[in-house]
């Protein structure tokens, strides 16, 4: 429950700030550095892109996760190449998603995306860092999960939370504003 209270406060605060057109730092998410399931170290600071968008999902998700990735592809295609964000898909399904599968899934739907898969403990640490909810369904295949997109600046501090239901125009305006941040 603590996570959800924190998330609510952050989102509420963000909504208030949004009207002021400010993108202040949000004490949630941010950079990490862990070896993936193949032992390759993964972090967010090694990308040259000024902005990183982090999204959580799983590769056996046929509807929601590809939709988000496809929408990001569409939105970011209208941003100048030099300002386009890196999209990072983080698997919530460490048991079934290998790093290769996660990466192929992400890049298939959005060419500027990478997919990472960590072991269970690391996945849980990152989920805690981002206050992500996830619960596997009794069918053993589908996973209910939170849907926020975390927008990180060049210092890999979280500056915005986007909802999956936000319009493409809003997502675009936030990403463009991020591109203008010094």
């Amino acid at each position: 429950m603590k996570f959800f209270r924190l998330l609510f406060l952050i989102v509420f605060g963000f909504q208030c700030q949004k009207n002021l057109n400010l993108l202040s730092e949000i004490p949630l998410g941010g950079d990490f550095s862990y070896p993936d399931k193949k032992g390759i170290n993964r972090d967010l600071s090694s990308f040259p892109e000024k902005t990183v968008v982090v999204f959580f999902g799983y590769t056996q998700c046929p509807d929601f996760c590809p939709n988000i990735l496809s929408r990001l592809k569409k939105v970011t295609s209208s941003i100048a190449v030099s300002d386009q964000p890196k999209i990072v898909f983080l698997s919530l399904d460490p048991e079934r998603d290998s790093p290769e599968v996660a990466d192929k899934f992400a890049s298939f739907y959005s060419p500027n995306a990478v997919g990472y898969s960590f072991d269970k403990n690391t996945t849980e640490k990152i989920m805690k860092q981002y206050a992500v909810y996830s619960e596997k369904n009794p069918d053993g295949v589908t996973i209910d999960h939170s849907t926020y997109l975390y927008v990180l600046d060049k210092n890999r501090k979280t500056r915005a939370l986007l909802k999956s239901t936000d319009s493409e125009a809003h997502i675009l305006s936030v990403l463009q504003e991020m591109g203008e941040l010094k």
């Binding site: 056996q60 509807d63 939170s146 999956s164």
Partner: protein
């Protein structure tokens, strides 16, 4: 996209392209009941996936939830049922064999009607 009609029921379905590593896929589109009575969909089958389930994606409080719908599912006369992103969709699970890149054979089982066999295109994501 053209409709396929059989026994008074029309279909306009498509599968979203999926990566070769995926074992699941999704079909969207429409089913229109042009009969004078309601129909009951009993299920969908294809050789390329072990099972096909009718799911509804629900987004509540910034959480996504997948709700499985149980067959049979009735469609009243004159009604067009739509499968769309982040809504009702056909979830194809446990892929067997190679990935389909262009089209997929789908069998629709409807109560008191012959099985309907349609060819469903696979479209770019």
């Amino acid at each position: 996209m053209p409709w396929t009609e059989d026994q008074g029921v029309s279909f306009q379905l498509w599968v979203r392209g999926y990566p070769e590593t995926s074992t699941t896929a999704v079909a969207y589109g429409k089913i229109k009941n042009q009969r004078k009575e309601s129909i009951e969909i009993l299920g969908f089958e294809t050789d390329e996936f072990q099972r096909i389930e009718w799911h509804e994606t629900q987004i509540l409080d910034n959480r996504v939830k997948m709700k499985k719908q149980s067959f049979p599912i009735a469609i009243e006369p004159g009604i067009t049922w739509e499968f769309k992103a982040n809504g009702d969709h056909l979830m194809m699970m446990e892929r067997v064999g190679k990935r389909t890149k262009e089209e997929l054979n789908l069998t629709v089982k409807i109560k008191n009607l012959n099985d309907v066999r349609i060819i469903v295109p696979v479209l770019e994501p």
